[in-house]
Amino acid sequence: MWAFLVLIGAAVASAHLQDLAFDGHKVFRVIPQNDEQVEIIHSLASKMQVDFWQPDYVKLVKPKMQVDFRVEADKALEVEHLLKESKVDYKVLIDNLQTALHAQFDSKVRSTGHSYEKYNTWEQIVAWTADIAAQNPSLVSRSVIGETYEGRPLYLLKLGKSGTNKKAIFMDCGFHAREWISPAFCQWFVKEAVETYGTDSTMTKLLNSLDFYVLPVVNIDGYIYTWTNDRMWRKTRSKNTGSICVGTDPNRNFNAGWCTLGASRSPCDSTYCGSAPESEKETKALADFIREHLSTIKAYLTIHSYSQLLLFPYSYTYTHPKDYSELNAIASAATQKLSSLYNTKYVYGPGATTIYPAAGGSDDWAYDQGIKYSFTFELRDTGNYGFLLPESQIKPTCEETLLAVKYIADYVLDHLY
């Protein structure tokens, strides 16, 4: 039995999942009794695509040997007829490979409760970061870049095939606690990276040539608070001296025109800029990490919701950034890629005029640090459900957003500086 599972595991490791890539594929087990039957297997392999699981290739097949092989759905019937006609004993090991593969992943879901198509608790996300790194050691590693106000570790995942002199893209999710679709996207992105590395040419190229730093939840304390106390909380959970009101808006807390416009000086307000730039442990940890890796980080993506927007600098001023034309062109193309899947309309432009002027944003700060390709995503929807986006929309939202992110990453790779 366990040998059987090892075979499935081997198949998974060597042929990374693509959605429905193996739908209807059957795996047969044959024990050829003599040279004649070995010859039948040879002729089968010459007539159609046969993926040998054991032995590794057809030339190694000998009489009395256990031979396992995979064929596509539309060839399975032909194979069964041929084996029956030739009186070769066979067994169908796996009736539908796709189902078997899903079952293997589902069992993880049943035990931890983590699902890419549900909103996961912080505990589930922590366990997932450990699991995904452990299961994919050559592609994913986990580190801690700091601590939240309430003392929780800020986990960061580094994605990419190890190499020298690699440039990187930094992406974070969960700045604002109530924007649950945002951490869901970071998890989806990591899943896609590990599952399609080796089968998707763009993803393979990206992970070979670049590293991705993915911070699944920046504002962990706030995120937990939306699960336990107030689903509509936005800010961090830090105490403010001299006030009963809690929290700072992390996206008004960066040193980019800090607190000059579109932010509040009152701790009771949702856009409170904090007592000083990087007053929050979470924003300081993020900024420190980026500063330390400034020579390698070539793009910064920060994921929010809602409104269906793709924004670039500046938000702290109406003045256009130096790279306005280029950023505008990238945003135009990326939103088109996004729309191509489900016709979801995105609006793009510089923050100040497209959404509102707002100082202290991480995207403006990253840009002014020299990270030219700096974008803020505001994911689905446009107000129908708002922050309470139904779980049934997680998959389509993530799929379409992935297209835009891959486009941007690919562009960055072609335009390294």
Partner: protein
């Protein structure tokens, strides 16, 4: 009078369109039918000396229960200069026919009328975005009623959306109307505040949605 074309991506166009959508929701919404802003096609702004700013808009609305069902609209939204107590003026046209929801409205009406105990519910949608099918009409009704509240309380630099129904309680009536007392959360997109609001809503299939009472609630009203 000065008229300027705005990029449809401009935030002021999106705010004016959201206001128009709210107003249209109130005028045309019912338990069987809700409309939300999908996107803005075209926007122009007219500055009228001594009067205010008038936005000329072309936009698309979507059915809140069926994303793929859309309708094109045009509207003029006039924000009055100075007078903060007066709601913006809205004129609109809808291209084509709106879905007829008489049957759905009547089914809901009869269902509520035949309840033995007054309807009561909380958190619609819930934290995960779920709306049980039997609560969809309650949500559509709140959507239409909140359209009125949003219209009455909007200014050129605000953008309100209905974020959630915290509580709804049916109020018994002896006449043919249905009455619901709602506590809703409004999300204001510029300040990012979540504002609790009370509204008393009257409805009858032939008489549309009326908000007879409404007011901002203090923060702790939710506890």
């Amino acid at each position: 009078r000065a008229m300027a074309e705005l990029p449809p991506s401009h935030s002021s166009a999106s705010r004016a369109a959201a206001l128009a959508a709210a107003y249209i929701s109130h005028r045309h919404g019912s338990p069987g039918h809700g409309l939300a802003l999908r996107d803005v096609r075209r926007a122009r702004r007219e500055d009228i000396d001594g009067i205010g700013h008038k936005y000329h808009l072309e936009f698309v609305l979507e059915d809140i229960f069926e994303r793929d069902s859309t309708v094109n609209c045009t509207a003029e939204v006039l924000y009055h200069l100075g007078n903060k107590n007066s709601a913006p003026d809205v004129q609109f046209t809808i291209e084509g026919e709106l879905k007829n929801t008489d049957e759905a409205d009547n089914v809901f009406y009869n269902r509520i009328k035949s309840l033995k105990k007054e309807l009561e519910a909380e958190n619609i949608p819930d934290s995960y975005g779920n709306v049980p099918p039997e609560m969809q009409p309650i949500r559509a009704l709140a959507w239409a009623a909140s359209g009125y509240v949003i219209w009455q309380n909007s200014a050129e630099d605000t953008k309100y959306q209905l974020a959630q129904i915290k509580r709804v309680k049916q109020v018994k009536r002896t006449d043919e109307y249905l009455e619901f007392d709602y506590v809703i959360l409004l999300h204001e997109n510029v300040s990012q505040e979540i504002i609790p609001w009370q509204m008393t809503v009257l409805w009858h299939p032939q008489h549309g949605v009326a908000v007879t009472q409404n007011g901002r609630l203090p923060e702790h009203a939710l506890d």
